[in-house]
């Protein structure tokens, strides 16, 4: 999902024409329902306190458009005033409402087109870094309705619909998942990827992390090991105590109050669920894991929840007891494996604007490395499990090299990619399972240095 292989954010998408008009109509209806009888849920529950807010105002009435924020709220939460959802989300709600106000005005004035302007993501990390320094270089993209083509009209509709759902989530202070959004209107969105792209684009446009739009990816990561979490509601969770080799779904960071890492000597991140399970259930390693390590997988390209949790565990803070256990990455020896490692380490390009809180720059590449393949001992059979790079692999590797070029020439990623291109070979993690004791040996050798 965070695969940054996407071409231009807004180009070349297939879309569902037929539903465009209908969905736009329904989106519009929903919006005007907002303006007519806007009656937000009077209460919202967040954690242990409940808040009653009444942000009763009309989005489209000219008189009130100038009013910034005047909710009358009857609140019982003296201790946590700043946590009131409406106030917390007010700036974003305003931004969204501004967009709709503008459109309402355009409609009233019978302008020929409705326009939304989105920021495009920069095309490389280095560009992103530059843009951080200079906001003026941001690229903008105008999307009009009815626009020049049916596709543009569809894009416009998709954005409006997502904005409306975000508005709903923010004003009710509920968290919705990307998948929820897709299922609200599958005929319009066509597939999940479109939803993900436009959510990221909207977050970028508002210069805000996606989580503050109250959108979460469905957690797909797994964790197990010697960590003891305390949730905000006071309950504790021992991730090691779940069924053997199963792991616990990665927790939402917002639910975690603190974590006890006293026993943790290392954190191991593996690319694949299969390897996660084989390590967690291996006879020789599971005991060690329960005593002194944490094992995490993002199942391929990691989602935000997994990266956020890893960042939280590996970055010293009062909430994790100021611990910074070393983090090791175990990924396939192929361009995707390295890209996954780099997503943990440096963040993804699609979400460059919010990577800071998700990066784990200290992650070390444990394997599979070039040294682990082609060695003597296994005879001819040790070459089993090796595959040639496909043209797609090579293109991906070269793209990644291009991105790494402005970095240091000695950087590990660049050297690894070059070596891989030279060998023209790739190897999966399972290769280590095939060799007797291969995985355990590698882990013990790699992790023992830190004891």
């Amino acid at each position: 999902m965070e695969d940054d292989d996407f071409d231009d954010l807004l180009a070349g998408v297939e879309f569902a024409h037929d539903s465009s008009r209908e969905s736009l109509t329904s989106a519009a209806t929903d919006l005007f329902a907002f303006s007519d009888g806007y009656d937000p849920m009077p209460s919202a529950t967040s954690g242990e306190f409940s808040v009653i807010a009444d942000p009763r105002r009309s989005m489209y009435s000219e008189e009130q458009a100038a009013v910034c924020f005047s909710p009358r709220h009857y609140s019982n939460c003296d201790e946590v005033n700043d946590e009131r959802p409406y106030r917390r989300h007010a700036p974003l709600l305003e931004k969204i409402e501004e967009i709709f106000d503008q459109m309402a005005a355009d409609l009233t004035n019978e302008r020929p087109e409705l326009v939304i302007t989105l920021k495009s993501k920069p095309t490389s990390s280095s560009e992103a870094a530059k843009e951080g320094a200079d906001q003026r270089t941001q690229k903008f993209r105008r999307i009009c309705f009815p626009g020049k083509s049916a596709e543009e009209a569809w894009r416009f509709t998709v954005i409006i619909r997502i904005l409306q759902l975000i508005h709903e989530a923010l004003s009710k202070d509920t968290v919705i998942s990307k998948r929820d959004i897709y299922y609200r209107d599958p005929a319009l969105f066509g597939n999940q990827t479109h939803v993900n792209r436009y959510i990221d684009a909207i977050a970028l446009t508002f210069s805000t992390p996606r989580s503050s739009l109250n959108i979460a990816a469905v957690a797909k990561g797994l964790i197990t090991g010697a960590a003891l979490f305390t949730r905000r509601n006071g309950s504790t969770l021992n991730v090691a105590s779940t069924a053997e080799g199963e792991g616990t779904l990665v927790l939402n960071l917002q639910d975690i109050l603190c974590v006890n890492l006293d026993r943790v000597k290392w954190i191991l991140v593996v690319e694949k669920e299969a390897s996660f399970r084989s390590i967690a259930s291996s006879a020789s390693f599971s005991a060690k894991l329960a005593e002194q390590g944490i094992l995490i997988t993002g199942k391929g390209y990691p989602d935000i929840a997994t990266r956020a949790l890893l960042h939280f565990l590996a970055t010293p803070s009062p909430r994790n007891g100021f611990r910074a256990p070393p983090v090791y990455g175990l990924v396939d020896y192929d361009p995707d494996g390295l890209a996954i490692l780099s997503t943990y380490k440096d963040g993804s390009i699609a979400l460059a604007h919010e990577s800071e809180a998700l990066r784990v720059p200290s992650i070390r590449w444990l394997g599979v490395r070039a040294e682990h393949i082609g060695r003597e001992g296994g005879g001819l059979h040790s070459d089993q499990g090796l595959l040639g790079l496909t043209p797609r692999d090579r293109r991906k590797a070269i793209k990644m090299l291009e991105r790494a070029r402005e970095g240091e020439e000695k950087c590990e990623m660049r050297q690894a990619l070059q070596g891989m291109l030279m060998l023209n070979l790739k190897a999966e993690l399972q290769l280590l399972d095939a060799q007797a004791g291969g995985m355990v040996e590698l882990l013990e050798a790699g992790l023992s240095g830190e004891e």
Partner: protein, 319 residues
């Protein structure tokens, strides 16, 4: 009877990253690595005589030079090939003459070989083609192909051009273990050799063009008769993948570099390994004999690879 080679000197950290390829001229050694510059070394000095800065932004994986030392070519990870020329005397003054950039969809350009006088440049592409260019025509934007050999679309990891006489041939070694030998005069396929099965990482014609040596992940070095296409010898002894091969000037000895860091010298007469050098356990991407210096009694060779070091060896003479 085995031979003994002694390390004469090393240039440590010759490049900041893996050294992937070496080329020799009568006076110089060119080295290419994952960094963007190509370095030109005198045979004795540790300081490069010339550095071709920013030759390949993404790093350089192949470099080759004509025997007369007047033409060199290099290929970068971005898929581009550059041609360099020098006046060929002792002063290292390589200048860029031009470049070849294939359209992106044709696949990146990979292995390179120049013929003796540097007139022809053979270049493989990722989709299995071998293009032969007339280097006289290579300029900033254009290059004319004088031959184009099609194979079955399998990545050609290595290529070699035979000496100009008695016959001129092109050989390519592929990911699936196939070796093709083409005649340059008729532009036809002469032999398709499939014995190695695993990726072929180096093919080299012997100086008299009698043999073709080929090796790779099969861990053996195969010798083929270039006329009949028959395999005439199997040199076994390497425990890992063979990355690089080179014949000495007379064709009596073959040098090989292995993924496990070992370099071996093989006697053609005896068909066996006569010397093994273990410098480290890091992959040797490239091994090369140095041209025989007039008056010197023994031949030298150089190895380079993931150790980032150039190591020079000389045969220990009797006394």
């Amino acid at each position: 009877m085995s031979k003994l080679y002694l390390q004469t000197h090393t240039v440590s950290d010759a490049h900041p990253t893996d050294i992937f390829s070496l080329a020799v001229t009568p006076t110089h050694l060119l080295s290419a690595s994952g960094s963007s510059s190509i370095k030109v070394h005198d045979s004795n000095s540790e300081v490069p005589a010339q550095t071709l800065e920013k030759a390949h932004a993404l790093g350089c994986h192949h470099v080759c030079a004509s025997k007369d030392g007047k033409v060199a070519a290099s290929a970068g990870f971005g898929g581009e090939v550059k041609l360099w020329v020098s006046d060929g005397d002792g002063e290292a003054a390589w200048v860029e003459k031009g470049s070849i950039l294939e359209p992106a969809k044709a696949g990146e350009q990979w292995a390179l070989a120049l013929n003796e006088n540097g007139q022809y440049l053979a270049c493989t592409t990722h989709d299995g083609r071998i293009n032969v260019y007339d280097t006289a025509t290579i300029s900033d934007s254009t290059a004319s192909k004088i031959a184009r050999f099609e194979t079955k679309g399998v990545f050609a990891l290595c290529v070699d051009l035979s000496p100009d006489s008695p016959c001129t041939m092109t050989a390519s070694g592929h990911q699936n273990g196939t070796i093709f030998i083409f005649s340059n005069t008729t532009q036809r396929l002469v032999h398709a050799l499939t014995g190695l099965i695993k990726p072929v990482r180096s093919v080299k014609f012997s100086p008299a063009c009698k043999y073709l040596a080929a090796a790779g992940d099969a861990r053996i070095i195969a010798l083929y008769d270039t006329q009949s296409g028959e395999q005439v010898a199997n040199l076994t002894g390497h425990a890992s993948w063979v990355m690089s091969l080179d014949w000495n000037w007379s064709g009596e000895y073959l040098l090989s570099g292995c993924y496990d860091g070992k370099a071996k010298v093989w006697s053609l007469e005896r068909r066996e390994c006569v010397a093994t050098q273990t410098e480290s356990d890091k992959c040797l991407w490239a091994v090369k004999w140095l041209p025989l210096v007039k008056g010197a009694r023994s031949e030298m060779f150089v190895t380079a690879g993931a150790g980032k070091t150039l190591s020079f060896y000389r045969e220990a003479t009797g006394s």
